[in-house]
Every structure is written in C-alpha cells, then in structure tokens.
Amino acid sequence: MSEKPYVSVENISKWYPYKGDKLINHEKKFIKANDDINLSIQKGEILGVIGESGCGKSTLGKLLTRLETPTAGDCLINGVSTKELIKNDMKAFRRSVQIIFQNPFDTFTPRDTIEQILLRPLKNHNIGNSKEERRKLCIERLEEGGLVPGEDIMKRYPHELSGGQLQRISIIRAMLLDPEFIVADEPVSMLDVSVRAEIINMLLDLAKLHNTAVMFISHDIALTRYISDNIAVMYLGKVVEYGKADEVVNNPGHPYTKALISNCASIDPDDEREEISITGEPPTPLDPGPGCYFAPRCFMACEKCLKEYPDKKNLSDTHWITCMNAE
C-alpha cells in the first residue's frame, strides 16, 4: 500500500429523499443507498464489489462515474476530485472513466446502427482524423474482439445482435476511448452462461493491456474471487468487509460475508463446510441504524450490536471488517 491509490473513494454517500408518508409524518427521511463508503483502487487493480441486490452496488458505480451526484463525500482520481474534473473538462473526465452496464440490450439506442453508435464518441472526443480512419479503427477493434466480419456488424442495428455480441460491443466502445478506470456493473449477469467466460476474459485482457483500474460489480462470489485482486462486500449501502480476494473468501471476518460464502455452491462436492442461514429479508435502507445494519439478521448479534455502528477493525494489513464480535 505504498503507492498512492489511483481512484480513492472518500466518505461517499448517496441519500435519496423519501417521499412517502409526508402528510402524516413531517420528519424528512432518506433512503441511504450508499452511506459513508471508503475504498481505493490502484492502477491496474481489479476490485470486486459483491452484495445482494438492492445493497447499493450499482449506485456506487454510478457515483464513481458521476452519473449521479453524491450527497456527501467525494471520489478522487489521481488525487483530484471528480467534481473538479468534470467541471473543468467534462470530455476529458468521460474519456478517463467509463462504465459498462448490466443490460446490453438497452445500452444502445435502437434507432442507430452500430457504426453510428461507435463513431459518435470517437468524433466527440476527436479520436482519428477522418471518418475513414475512425471506421477503420472500429472495424479493427471489432474484429480483435471476435466480431467477424466487422464490416457487416457495423451495418447492423442493436436488435439484430445477440446479448453477448452487444456486450462485447459495449466493452469495445468503452475501450475505444482508452479509459484509465472502468466500472463494470454486473456485465455478464444477463448473458448466457456459455458466453460469460469469453466476455469476462475479453474485459480482463483489455484492462490488463491498458493497465486500467476496474471496479467489477457482481453478486457472483466465485466469479469475483476468480478475477479480482481485492473484494469489497457491501450490505445495505455500507462496505462491511474489504481485503485481498483470497483472504476474504478463505477467511471471512464479517458474519454477513461468512453467511454469503457458506451458501455459495462449491465445485468440489467433498468440500465440507457448515452452512449458515440468515433469516428474514434485508431491512429497508430507510433510515437504518443506529446499531449495526446487519444486527437484526445476524447470528452473532449481541446487545451491543443494536446500539451503535461498529468501527473498522483490521484483521491484517490488507483486510478489514466492521463488526463488534470479530476476534
């Protein structure tokens, strides 16, 4: 951890005002989609973010790419606040930070051909000198990405291509701008299992080639462990555990992570482990607390857990959790 982090998230929060019950209850309430998150990503590092649905993973991704404005806190890239970056030069910021969305079928406007879709950002960012040059670059990249023949793909409309093809194009398009940081928001969760590996490998190869920092959002622990350097586990808008991928998976500290991993199907049928079940639904992120957010469902919860939110506790130099009961 001697290097300065490339992307650093500092106390970022996103609260959405809650509109219900206004007539009866005048107290202003917030849905805390993200609450006081601190993370950092080095150049070339892949950070996996896991958690169940609705825990704020995608919101975090949107905050980092500034598609949403954080309520509090900031995200620094190379030590400069993204707020400043986007104010000073929107295009330069958009070039350096890219996002790949979950749903490839809705990532492209249905009225344009792939050619128009790929050429527009290139023209906006003044990459390539002439239309011919840009076209050539696109076809080259498409064919490198296994979309052959590129010439033919360029003429298609998005609805004429498969999800896997579209997601490849989405990755290719993001990579055309040579970004330094990519948020991949569950890029394969809507694809067939058969093409997932190819898409992920393609993303990782490109990221490695350009030394890009990647935030990989997923709910698939096995996959995340396989590809990431570090893993952050989120629960109800908070990061509850962070550490090296193997450390987190082999030696989970937080009871929520323990439960998640114990329920994850293993390839090895002889692998013996105790299954921990958590009961109940996750509570709403509507003004949670004051205690640990996970306490109501936690199998280790004690009285103290319900009173205050636990502090960060280091398990090792590279591994921390927020739990009272950690040994």
Binding site: K91, F93, I99, F101, N103, P110, P121, S170
Partner: protein, 283 residues
Amino acid sequence: MKNNRLTIAAQAVKSNRQLMAGCIGVLALLVLMIAAPLISTEDPTIYGPDVLNGLGENGHILGTNHLGQDVYSMIIYGVRTSVKVAVISAMISGILGVLIGGAAGFLGGKVDVIISEIINVFMMLPTFFLILLIVALFGNSLTNVMIVIGITTWPGNAKLMRAQALSLRERVFVKSAEAMGETKRQILFKYIIPNGIFPVIANTTLGMANAILTEAGLSFLGLGDPSIISWGQMIYAGKQYITSAWWICAFSGIAIIIAVLIFYMLGDGLNKVMDPRYNKRRA
C-alpha cells in the same frame, strides 16, 4: 436497411384499415393539390357571366355561386388551402411541442416545473377565442391563421413529448451516452427525440384535422383570408343563398368533412399501429 424499414411501414399500413384509408386519402389530396389546374374545369378566380347556376347548368358540374365562380373548380383549388393550413400549422405545433416538451422532460428540475406551468397556462386558454382575438388584432392573412393555430395547439404535443422524455432519460442508453461524454444537446436530439417522437407524430396528424376545421370556422365567421379560395369562405358566402342555391354550401361542407375524416383516420390509425399493445392484440 432502408428497404427493411419500408417493408415494416408497408406491413403496418396493411395491418390497419383506418390507416390504409387515411394514406390513400392523403395521396388523393396530394394529387388534387398538384393537378388542380388539370382537374378543374375553370379558373375559380374568374367571375363568369353565369350567376347562381344550378348543377350541370352551362357545363358547371356543381353549379356557380353569386359571383359566377365555378363551385367545382373552387372546391378543387380549396384543397390547396386546407392542406397548406393543416400541414404548416401542425408542423409549427409539432416542432414547438417536441422541443419544449423534450427539454422539459429531459432536463427536469426547475426547468421542468416552469415549462409544465407554462404548458398548463396554454392548455387553459380558450383556444378559439384567442385565435379570434389575434386574427382581429393582426389581420386575417392565411399566414397569421396558420401561425396562430400552431402556437395555440402545441401544449398537447409538449405534454406527450415530456412524458416520453421522462421515461427515456432513465433508460440505460441515455445514461451510457452521458457516460460516453455526449453533451445534453446531443442526447436530446440524438436519443430522446428520435426515440420518443412517435406518439407526437400521431397526435400531430390528428391535429391536422382540427386545423382544417379551425380554418374553416374562422373563414365562416368572416375572419379568413379574403384573397384566397377556401371551403370555409365558400360556406360563409353561400349561406345567404342557401334556399335558392344550396349547392354552394353543401359541396364545400362535404369537402371539409372528407378532408377532416382523411386526416383523422390517418392520425388515429397511426396512433393504433404505434401502440405497443396493438401487435399483441392481433397476434
């Protein structure tokens, strides 16, 4: 690809009888517009010697009016006026509605609140009396009439476009365009408007029918442009002879009904075909 879109359009037209009738009707109106000098028997602006001739008298198929103009030729040339009013005023209303509504829905926040209030104010105005007032104040040229119809009917289109923009701006492709560094203007014109314009097109076509009626109504009240030939004015001029020369009013009235029906069928047919539930219901 162009070919593909054409076949889709052809299929849509075939699938709905109303739309097909509307399309054929509009084609017929266009032919009448272009070929009016060939189809008509006389120049309708000439005041001939045959005054108030009946049907078929002296070669006047639909008779003549009190100034000796040939009613059949007047009706043929009247198509030009009506279609011009319909198309231009609907275009004004459509363009204003799309731009204002699209901007309101896409930009949101305070811009949306202010524009929505303006739309509401315009919707509450009694349109026809406003038109009367403006024509009375600024003179009754056809251009004025078209502009006034345009700027009093845009709020309906703006509301439709705003609703479309509100839902489109949450779509992933708009977010991804934003992430690719496209400006707000590019997003509005390349993503929001092309993807949300269909209901507005259908509504604008319906608006054409109303524009024809409004122009006819104004002419009937004597506020039309006196230097052109229009069906509304034919009725206005013919109404005092209705007992002795009924054909002046009757045939121009029928012409108005047919033109309005054509545009109405086209608009309603488009509305139905573009409704996403339409294809499911048929399948």
